[in-house]
């Protein structure tokens, strides 16, 4: 590469390049819309209007965003430690079991504000335990975490299907799901916040889990950048050798990072299960764990970026539903393509445009990208 390998200003690194990557992903998605025979610009307008045009739309957007904040944080925490947790999906799914046990036991006796903390603890615990085994195998046995977490997704799905068509299903029911939770396990809605701003909301599942997600985003920031443990995790993520040399226990750091990641993934289940459906059903995660990968990559592993990326994907989910209504040729699966393209351009190809951006910056202001130093060396 002829361009000097130098640092860009932070705003370009964290703002401009992700934006370019995102833009390219959407342009390619636009081509798919054209292939289908629709107008991509009209599709984009319908999508944004569907997501933010009405109060109900905004509430739905934030409801989906809640889910993606959790899974995005989960992927990011592991990634800071150099681990690719592809098992967020399975950890969230199996955490539904923990929530089911708490809710089915206590929804008749306790009010929601006592059930909720118990359910948080249960979901985090189950999610963390499901991440523990792959973490242990990676740390102690050297088996690749990506492969084991994929395998654990499938194993989790098998266990949940077995339980939901068998032991957890009420005898009288045909549907593969638990009985509906009673009032003691239903979380209060947050729609009134949006109504404060004058918007009308018919019915939307936005609930207190959204606040929990924001708190978790803050705690993750605190953990990664303001604690010793976070420092150790980032050290290990940058260079396992350096971490070992600094006396950081490899086993401890891998297992801790993965269990935190699993706990965050597990908490995701609270949002659809206790906030919306009020039961645990087959495949209730429906890919949110994988969206977390896209969200984390787009948010550049920073909680603020993740919250913004989660809202973007929430918008795609809500707006996508409206879009499917207006343009029947574009079903909700369009989001899956966009998600894939975002992962491709913001993740695997994240450095594709960097040399060009660097060259552009260098032509405006050589000093800003360290061209000066290179020239001096050359002279």
């Amino acid at each position: 590469m002829s361009t000097p390998y130098a640092k860009l200003p932070a705003w370009a690194d964290y703002g401009l390049i992700p934006l370019i990557n995102l833009l390219v992903a959407f342009i390619v998605a636009g081509f798919v819309v054209v292939l289908v025979g629709e107008n991509p610009f009209r599709a984009a307008i319908i999508l944004v209007e569907g997501a933010f045009g009405k109060g109900t739309g905004i509430a739905f957007t934030l409801f989906y965003a809640t889910t993606f904040i959790f899974t995005g944080l989960s992927v990011a925490v592991a990634a800071h430690c150099g681990l690719f947790n592809i098992g967020t999906e399975g950890q969230a799914y199996i955490a539904g079991l923990g929530i089911a046990i708490v809710c089915l036991s206590f929804d008749t006796v306790l009010p929601w504000w006592l059930t909720f903390p118990l359910a948080i603890a249960a979901s985090a615990l189950v999610g963390a335990l499901w991440a523990l085994i792959p973490a242990y195998l990676q740390a102690k046995r050297g088996s690749h975490i990506v492969i084991t977490t994929i395998m654990f997704n499938f194993i989790a799905a098998s266990i949940m299907v077995y339980l939901l068509v068998g032991p957890l299903k009420p005898a009288a029911s045909q549907a593969p799901q638990t009985r509906n939770f009673l009032a003691g396990a239903e979380l209060p809605k947050l729609n009134w916040i949006i109504e404060l701003f004058g918007a009308k909301i018919r019915s939307a599942p936005l609930n207190v889990t959204f606040l929990l997600a924001l708190v978790m985003a803050f705690l993750v920031w605190l953990l990664i950048w303001r604690t010793r443990l976070g420092y150790e995790m980032r050290t290990y993520g940058h260079s396992p050798k350096a971490a070992r040399y600094a006396g950081i226990s490899e086993t401890r750091i891998i297992i801790t990072a993965m269990m935190i990641s699993g706990a965050l993934a597990g908490m995701m289940a609270l949002n659809p299960v206790m906030g919306d459906q009020h039961n645990v059903a087959i495949d209730f995660v429906s890919g949110a764990g994988f969206v977390g990968i896209a969200v984390a990559l787009m948010g550049r592993l920073h909680p603020i970026g993740i919250v913004l990326a989660a809202i973007l994907f929430g918008m795609l989910y809500q707006g996508g539903a409206e879009l499917a209504f207006e343009m029947p040729a574009i079903s909700r699966d369009m989001i899956v393509i966009i998600q894939g393209l975002v992962i491709l351009f913001a993740g695997a190809l994240e450095h594709m445009f960097r040399p060009y951006v660097q060259a552009l910056f260098a032509s405006f202001n050589p000093r800003s990208v360290g061209m000066e130093a290179v020239k001096e060396k050359g002279a």
Partner: protein, 323 residues
Amino acid sequence: MDVFNAVIQVLDSTVRLSVPLLLACLAGLYSERAGIFDIGLEGKMLVGAFAGAAAASVFHSALLGLGMAILISVAFALVHGFASITHRGNQIVSGVAINFIAAGSTIILGQAWFQQGGRTPALGPGERFDAIVWPGADAVRNVPVIGPIYAELISGHSILVYLAFLMVPFTWWVLFRTRFGLRLRAVGENPAAVDTAGISVAWLRYRALICTGVLTGVAGAYLSMVQNGGFVKDMTAGKGYIALAALIFAKWKPVNAMFACLLFGFLDAAAIRLQGSPLPIIGKVPVQFMQALPYILTVILLAGFIGKAIPPRAGGVPYVKER
């Protein structure tokens, strides 16, 4: 005799179910042996299945379908190569991306082009690969023991089944008896050495990925044009991941890969056959347990309790030329 027939039937469906696994597993073998992790087997199979069925039904030709399946699947493999070889991106991230793009685009395009809820039109005769009845299969069918084995197990499969099993010795020969194979294995173990010898690491890895694309294309075509007679959305249903598991289980060796895929195919066939009926001694086994068994076995293997699976040394690491 009933038991014998039942066994033959289970083995017959074992063969049918293990073919897509085997093709995908060998596909993964080429890329992983060259040092490129490929989580995207699933997605490439899926686009292969879609392109195959779509082209076959539009052009009324099974062969054109197969060709299109291979073409599109190779194109996706090249995207993976572009991201992970040329731009040295994370190979796992790239594979995940390909799986999503495949899953979404097959449904969207299928719905837009054929308007059947993401399906392609059912393939008629000549648009799919039919079973080949071997000479004398009907004549010997009633001969005890050998008859059913010949007529059911060996004869009566489509050409792609035989092709898949022929790919096993062929892959072995390519990898271990040709110069290309030697270099391919070398580039997965120590790319710097290959580079020093004056061979392009990138071009070698691209060629490995093209092999991967061809085989996943055939695997996809088998799913939609032999097993099913049309494309159904998400029809790979995790087979790409099972193939990945089989590849690890086989310790990245072609002949082992065949046995691993037959084992996983057998588990699948047995799960379908047993559906709810109790086994002697063990009692009733939940179907879900049988379905999860390949994954459980792979985890146990990865943990090093059944031998040790050592991946190619340079796997997952983008090659950076010294500067």
